[in-house]
Symmetry: C2
Subunit: 193 residues, 2 copies
């Protein structure tokens, strides 16, 4: 069986998005800078990871729609980058949406454990990735359901926004791998139970 | 001339001390764990640093006395670990206190720039280290007076306490060095002006 993992870029002050998120600026002010290291991955390769068979994400990561669904919203991309089933946490039921490239969005109203169970089943022997956002990741961390957290630490502060590690009390990690380049430091933490 | 530097251990969630600091527990609940990596420095050696000729610290780092001085308080140790002049930021004047081992505490009521100026003069060609705590470090960072920040990132969360990088807006660092062991990740940031 695979593991349950997350892979997130945060600023030096711990934010995974900047202030004033909006439809035009979904990562908030300055937030797109978080991903600049990915343009230079030859120099900051990160870690070898097992393949991902399914994803879980919060509704706010799926899109900006709140309350009842606007069925015309089918995610940020015509061909989403997941190429696998994606379980979206929501309070509002909706039929699955199949997109180009092998991504199907399933909408789960029964909570984080149910979503993870369905994702594990779909993933088979492969890993399940908790894609985000901050609130969803914190819920899985707080519930002790995350096995591995890969952090990419960018060398600047955002000053405000959404913090990944916030209000989680005392968690202990085993730091199993790290590497860095001038653009980013990669850290692989195993969450101790 | 030397540089102005800081060298601080923080938890994975960015705290340099835990919750509920007190005279008995000056690093707060769980805070002493931050320094466990120092017991195993052979395996996590950190960086080569230039020698430090003088220190600056906040009053709360010097001791728990608030308001008017209790002159019987002369710091946490009979022989403090600084072995150099230490400039303590305070609103309450006090004569210098000379301790064993070459440490003299000077009390500066004229603000952070004045304290730094005096420390630079005392340090000559050597570096000035801003020793802490969080509030003092944030003031020097916010004022653009810090050249280099060495962070030792410990692989656990504290959940609450004092955060080093908080409310500082957007700062950009050049990551000039990094190294890590299972116990800690060392990061050397140059603060970009």
């Amino acid at each position: 069986m695979g593991i349950v993992k997350a892979d997130i870029t945060v600023s030096a002050d711990g934010y995974l998005s900047g202030p004033d998120q909006s439809l035009e600026d979904p990562f908030g002010r300055g937030g797109l800078r978080l991903f600049e290291w990915e343009d230079d991955q030859a120099n900051s390769p990160g870690f070898q990871e097992g393949p991902t068979g399914a994803f879980v994400m919060g509704r706010n990561m799926f899109g900006p729609v709140r309350g009842q669904w606007d069925l015309s919203w089918t995610g940020w991309d015509d061909e989403p980058p997941y190429h696998a089933p994606v379980y979206v946490l929501t309070h509002h039921p909706r039929d699955p949406v199949t997109m180009k490239g092998g991504t199907t969005f399933h909408f789960v109203t029964a909570g984080i454990e149910s979503a993870l169970e369905r994702a594990r089943e779909a993933a088979g022997d492969l890993d399940v990735q908790i894609a985000g956002g901050a609130n969803t990741l914190r819920q899985y961390l707080a519930a002790g359901l995350l096995d591995e957290l890969v952090l990419h630490l960018a060398p600047f502060t955002l000053g405000d926004g959404e913090r990944l590690l916030d209000g989680l009390g005392a968690l202990t990690f085993d730091q199993v791998e790290s590497s860095s380049s001038p653009a980013v430091t990669h850290l692989k933490y195993r969450v101790r139970r």
